[in-house]
Every structure is written in C-alpha cells, then in structure tokens.
Symmetry: C2
Subunit: 180 residues, 2 copies
C-alpha cells in the first residue's frame, strides 16, 4: 500500500495468510501478498575541515524550503554505508568519508528506521543536487534550528554534537575481511 | 518478488516507472509497482547473570539444526528495540533488557540489514519457542562455532566478546523524551 503510487491497484485487502500470525496486504486481482516491513532511511551528519555541518534546503515535498540532512531510502544491492554516501552525493554533490554510525532512530508510526552516520567531507566543494534548493555549511552555534525539516534532523544534530564533545564509541559493521 | 510466496503472481516484470531512475518490479495484471527495499532483521546477543550467551537451535529452514541468535524480520508499528525483544521471546521465551546497539550488518546480496542489540536476561528461565528445537546458554569459550547457522551469528558473537572485553560505546537511539 505505502509503496504504491495508486491505492486502487495492488495489495490493498488485509487478511491473515496461511501459516502467518498477522494481517498482510493482499491483491484481490492477482493474489500477491505484500509483506510490508519498515523501510530504511540512510543519512549522514557530515562536517567540513572547519567543523561546519552540511545541510540541504529541500526542493521537494514534504517540508519544501526547510533544512535537512542528506538522507533517503536505502536501495537494494547497496550497503547502508554506500547508501549514505550516495544520498550525500545526490542531494549535495558531497564527497565524504564515513567515520562511524551515529544513531538508529525507529519511527514506528511512519514505518521507518533511520541509520545516521557521521562523516567528514573529503572535498570542500558542495552544491545543490536536484532535490535541494541550496546547500549550506553551518557551525553548530549557527544552525537554523527553527527551519529544520524533521524532528530526527534535530536529534541527529544534537547527538552529533554530543558525540563530538564527549568522544563516542560506535556500533560494529561488517568485518572488512568478510564483506558481503 | 522476494516477498511473494508465488513467483507467477504479483510484481515480477522490471521496468523504470515514470519519474524514477531505476527498474522496479511491476505487476503486469494490475499495474502495482513494488518499491522493494532492504528488509531489517533485528536480533540480540543476550547474556545471563553468569555471562553465558543465549542461542537457539533452528527448527525451521534454512539451516535447520544449526545454532543462531534470536533474530527475525522487524514488523511494522514496532521499534527496532521492541522487535529484538519480541524475537527473543518468540524463539527462546526470553525476557531481557537491552543494553545498547552492538552492530549493523549490511547483507546487500540478500537485501537485508541486520540490527544486533546487546542484552541481559532479566529472568534465567528460557525455553524453545515454536521456531527452535532447543535453546542453550554457552560460555564464550564453549560456543558451538562449527554449528552456527550464519556468518553474521559468528560476527555478532565475536563483536559482542570484543565489546565485553574492551568496553564499548554505542549508537544513539530515539531520545526517550521524544519517542515516536
Ligand atoms: Zn494484483
Ligand atoms: Zn497484480
């Protein structure tokens, strides 16, 4: 349902499939069962050499004109880390090096899990991609708190600041010798 | 496609939808477009008071008879943390308290991202749920390394051991005052 552009086609009738324990969206025309699961958003708090933080002003709904972190849906056939780097390039033409996982936020009501990484820009040049009106680099004290697009952007900026000030351990990722 | 029990129905023809930049599975009968994204597996390395680690011997394919950590697909309308606790109860009747995120593993080829938490058992009683043949508690030195179900189980056990020995920071989660 949430994946379809058109609510009048595709899986839209909820019933419990044989052998399952909860209702799933089923297509009454073709019988296809959609096992809907939360979707992963990958994003990044990227800092320049002078510690300014990269934000993008949204050119697309929702929240057009508000500032956000580079982030978007993780695609098939990429790692979470590769997805975060891809989004940073698509939205801000940013080239960066990830330095660890900052946070995992569960947004149960909107069926999202956000994986937010920390990063440093490897090239100071950034510019707006097609989904951004403009990009900006902000010192923490100058962040546009009143014009942030989503609560999770605020959470991530505050957590990144806390991590930056206190030092910060991080979750493990795939062992590099045994990558998928 | 990967979500359907029956490959002859539902989204199975790949084409690039209008306004998109990559091929998506589309149903030729009803026109439904499946935006397939990686699925999230939530799991847990849980330790008892005596530091033994909880494993389950699988009663279902794949890898029947091999040992695994409590883990499974995250469902809609739950947080990652709630999903990890749910799986521990379903597979091992375990009650536990999460102590932080251990690792994020991207398994790009099989379209999974695994979120593995650390936990302590709050009740020493555990027993096999319907998807487990038996459950066991093992000291690290006694783990059944040759009978583990999946590489990620080995990764998580090794990372948990490393975290246990060295101390270990962890990723942030939703601020508790602003949970979704
Ligand atoms: Zn259909
Ligand atoms: Zn169809």
């Amino acid at each position: 349902m949430s994946d379809s552009e058109d609510p009048s086609v595709g899986p839209r009738v909820y019933r419990v499939p044989d052998g399952d324990d909860r209702e799933r969206a089923t297509c009454p025309e073709c019988g296809f069962i959609a096992y809907e699961n939360p979707r992963i958003v990958v994003g990044v708090v990227a800092r320049a050499d002078d510690e300014r933080i990269l934000l993008c002003r949204r050119a697309i709904p929702p929240r057009i004109g508000y500032w956000t972190l580079p982030a978007g849906y993780m695609e098939l056939n990429e790692t979470a880390e590769a997805g975060a780097c891809r989004e940073a390039y698509e939205e801000a033409r940013a080239n960066l090096k990830l330095t660890g996982l900052l946070a995992v936020y569960s947004l149960a009501r909107i069926h999202q899990v956000q994986l937010i990484y920390r990063a440093v820009l490897t090239d100071p040049h950034v510019e707006a991609g097609p989904e951004s009106q403009e990009v900006g680099l902000f010192h923490y004290s100058e962040l546009p708190w009143d014009e942030l697009a989503f609560p999770t952007v605020k959470w991530a900026l505050q957590h990144d600041h806390q991590a930056h000030m206190e030092g910060h351990g991080q979750a493990f990722a795939n062992p590099t010798t045994e990558e998928d």
